[in-house]
């Protein structure tokens, strides 16, 4: 079963473990979710999967294998070659992830050229921009990132990500900075691409509801380790780890919202922190 295989991965920075013995598998065509708060190590895990860990970080144990073929953690050269065509990544802040000095069509074109596809660039770039739901792609291709909205920038980033039809896409908080309707549109787009191309996807978020809605399986990350993993239904329906339970509770809609000012809604543990000191 190819796809992306993460086995017992351990990453440390400056002697401190930031990713601890993580096992994660993403089958082709499926969507795996990774939930955790900021600082839990999820972004480092994502970077490790595409072979782009910062220099200060070291893989101290375990491995990541792409497509049963490329050992990302060991073979950085081959990984660099398949970045784009085998595995791609999209990031959180679309406007800052794009080069502000280049037109967006040009940036999509660069991805194609870097992966050896030089033919017919203008048409293919316009095609890709159209495929991610941008109206008038020919016109938009000539614009700069600052002339586009956040949602459109994210679409451009997705176009760059899927340009070479990767088997695997890592999406690190792809919609966190976007309005909720745009968020839904972007996630629909990613689902759509997945079903058309059998691309596997790792969707990373701090918001359990986003992951619950879109992913077949969920892994919960806390302080570098996976504390719970399973199908979406089981993880949401019967969370076993207290942290998972909290994440679920954070996003569940309350049955009785506040009615009148005088009545207090049945609040949860009002100020008492459940597990740790809260602010």
């Amino acid at each position: 079963m190819p796809g992306l295989e993460i086995d017992g991965l351990r990453v440390s920075i400056g002697g401190r473990d930031v990713v601890r013995a993580v096992d994660l598998h993403i089958a082709p065509g499926s969507c795996a979710g990774l939930v955790g708060e900021s600082g839990s190590g999820k972004s480092l895990l994502a970077l490790a999967s595409v072979g782009l860990l910062p220099r200060a970080a070291r893989v101290t144990a375990g491995r990541i294998i792409l497509g049963g073929d490329v050992t990302v953690t060991a073979d950085l050269d081959r990984t660099a070659k398949v970045r784009g065509s085998g595995i791609a990544m999209i990031f959180q802040s679309p406007r800052t992830a794009l080069n502000p000095l280049l037109r967006v069509g040009h940036q999509v074109g660069r991805v194609l050229r870097r992966n050896g596809q030089h033919a017919d660039l203008t048409r293919r770039c316009a095609e890709l921009l159209g495929a991610v739901g941008i109206l008038e792609p020919g016109k938009v291709a000539r614009l700069y990132p600052h002339e586009l909205s956040g949602g459109m920038c994210q679409r451009v980033m997705i176009a760059m990500g899927i340009a070479c039809e990767p088997q695997m896409l890592i999406a690190d908080e792809p919609t966190t900075a976007l309005d909720v309707t745009v968020q839904a549109d972007i996630l629909d787009l990613l689902d759509d691409i997945r079903s058309r191309t059998r691309m596997g996807m790792l969707l990373i978020s701090h918001d359990m509801s986003v992951v619950a809605e879109r992913c077949d399986s969920i892994s919960v990350m806390w302080r570098g380790a996976i504390v719970e993993a399973g199908t979406s239904r089981t993880v949401i329906g019967s969370p076993r780890h207290p942290f998972t339970a909290e994440l679920v509770r954070d996003v569940a809609h309350r049955p009785q919202p506040k009615d009148r000012p005088a009545q207090r809604s049945p609040a949860g543990p009002a100020d008492g922190p459940p597990t740790e000191a809260r602010g």
Partner: protein
């Protein structure tokens, strides 16, 4: 959207807190390690200042005393930097002149800072036609290279120490004004300024308590650097004969007086004062770098 972590990791305090923190010498050592510019600048500046003050108060020989019998003596035991064409001890003159230049530079920098930042503060905060007028005047002044501007003003005003100070200050004020005004414009929109207004603070209160402390930082760093440039400009003007006049042992005057002797081999008359200028400016620039580092490290 930046999700600030909560509870588990907090921001690092800027220093160790009240005096009971890790020993002061330990902190100083770690500070020196992190900021090599402090080491270089601090050492150099300290040396320069000590020498300048000592030299000003108690020069080995009287810097003005003419001694025709010993004129043009090369550097040697009695006169470490040699003597000039009038037999005056170059070493004493350099020390004295260094003190003079540093003091003049300080006055210029302080004046420019005071005038420039106040004007920038008022102009930036009040905006409107006041701001327009102030900015146009500043633009006018800045359209000339500052040295040329100072030169022109000094020529018009006349060759005294006071006029040189005025001339160079006028040339520098617009830069500090612009800098402060820019910081004020940025601070004006900050939420904490809005918050202060929302809580009923008057405009002057907001300006002095909220905006001013947060914007003087960059201006102060700039003023520190300007101290160095001021020394260069003042000595440059004096070298040209426009500023301070002989027999004052100002460093630029000394370089000018020794210039014609270089070709005949008596290099020490010009070179030592020149070197003193360079060292002083270098020391100040290093300190300015350090101040800049601290400023950047501290801002939120």
């Amino acid at each position: 959207m930046d999700l600030t972590d909560d509870g588990r990791t907090r921001g690092q305090p800027d220093d160790a807190g009240p005096a009971g923190g890790p020993g002061r010498s330990a902190r100083l050592r770690s500070e020196l390690k992190r900021h090599p510019s402090l080491v270089a600048g601090g050492a150099l500046a300290a040396a320069t200042m000590i020498v300048a003050v000592a030299g000003h108060l108690a020069p080995p020989h009287n810097p003005l005393a003419i001694n025709p019998g010993h004129s043009l003596a090369p550097p040697g035991p009695g006169h470490w930097f040699g003597t000039d064409q009038f037999g005056r001890d170059v070493f004493s003159r350099v020390l004295y002149g260094l003190g003079l230049d540093v003091v003049i530079g300080l006055i210029v920098a302080a004046l420019a800072f005071a005038v420039g930042s106040m004007a920038g503060l008022v102009s930036g905060y009040l905006g409107g036609w006041i701001d327009d007028i102030v900015m146009r005047v500043a633009d006018l002044l800045m359209s000339f290279p500052s040295f040329l501007l100072a030169l022109s003003i000094a020529v018009v005003l006349g060759n005294t120490v006071r006029n040189v100070i005025i001339a160079v200050t006028i040339a520098y004020v617009p830069y500090l004004l612009r800098l402060t005004r820019g910081s004020v414009l940025a601070a004006r929109g900050a939420d904490y300024v809005l918050g202060a207004r929302a809580v009923g603070a008057s405009r002057s209160r907001v300006m002095t308590l909220h905006i001013l402390p947060n914007v003087v930082g960059p201006a102060m760093v700039q003023a520190t650097l300007m101290l160095g440039w001021a020394i260069l400009d003042v000595s440059g003007l004096s070298f040209l004969g426009v500023g301070i006049q002989p027999p004052s042992p100002e460093l630029g005057v000394q370089v000018a007086q020794g210039a014609s002797y270089i070709t005949s081999g008596q290099w020490w008359i010009s070179v030592f004062p020149g070197a003193a200028i360079i060292l002083a400016v270098l020391a100040i620039n290093f300190l300015g770098d350090y101040a800049d580092d601290k400023l950047r490290g501290q801002g939120s």
